[in-house]
Symmetry: C2
């Protein structure tokens, strides 16, 4: 199943590159592959460290460049937790979701509430806006950390 998903994501990337008249290079393949292995939100720097272990010669500028391509291709999504570092998560095969973060331990879980989504759209329309997307970050204390 993971194999299947990866294959599909790689196909999407290949098609994206072809459509844009860009080339499929070993670096791009490697970075995508490593990105797909991580299920967590990852920063460009962290991904660079991982990728470097497989190819010592890769440059971090390339990692930044490929992450931008992955976002364009609809495979990655930027997530901003406000700590000054942009993080990236899988977009393909993942429903839209928001984030619930524990301010004590840093644990983050993905959440969705269709009712909230509906209300957001209605709220925007109330002001004449046509809502295209949104970000919602919930911060609190998780069950474990409340115990302490």
């Amino acid at each position: 199943m993971t194999e299947q998903t990866q294959k599909t994501e790689k196909q999407i990337f290949a098609e994206f590159l072809a459509r844009k008249n860009l080339r499929e290079t070993s670096q791009r393949d490697l970075i995508l592959d490593e990105f797909l292995r991580r299920e967590q939100h990852i920063s460009a720097e962290e991904l660079y460290d991982e990728v470097k272990q497989r190819d010592r010669t890769i440059g971090q500028a390339t990692v930044y460049r490929v992450l931008k391509l992955l976002c364009e291709a609809g495979l990655a999504r930027e997530v901003n937790f406000g700590d000054g570092t942009m993080r990236y998560e899988h977009e393909f095969g993942h429903e839209h979701h928001d984030h619930l973060t524990c301010t004590a331990c840093g644990k983050t879980i993905e959440v969705v509430d269709p009712a909230i989504e509906t209300l957001q759209k209605a709220l925007a329309e109330k002001y004449g806006f046509c809502l295209s997307n949104h970000e919602m970050y919930l911060y609190g204390t998780c069950a474990e950390c409340q115990g302490r």
Copy 2:
């Protein structure tokens, strides 16, 4: 009324400084005063430019420092629109609110929906979290920009 509000905010700041054994300086007063004049979200850099017109000798580090103090004092709030620059808005006398931004013209309006707030709290509790705060950014196209 503005006078009244300003006086109160200045009092709050003075009390905050006293409580922390910090000093009320001309620079701090000036920066707070200039911050209060702006009703819009403002970046440290923009505020620095404004303040500089009234006191050429002020340093930008001081502006950053005072903005941080204002946040601690509950007078300012950080807002992150994800463009790499932190902005600040008035906190005191302003209800909690979220932001609805037009991606075409950049216009931002403040919105609140009590129903959404309630659902957010319920959503967090569903996962065992005790919600302390949240950020919600809605992006879309405003009425005027839809016309074009």
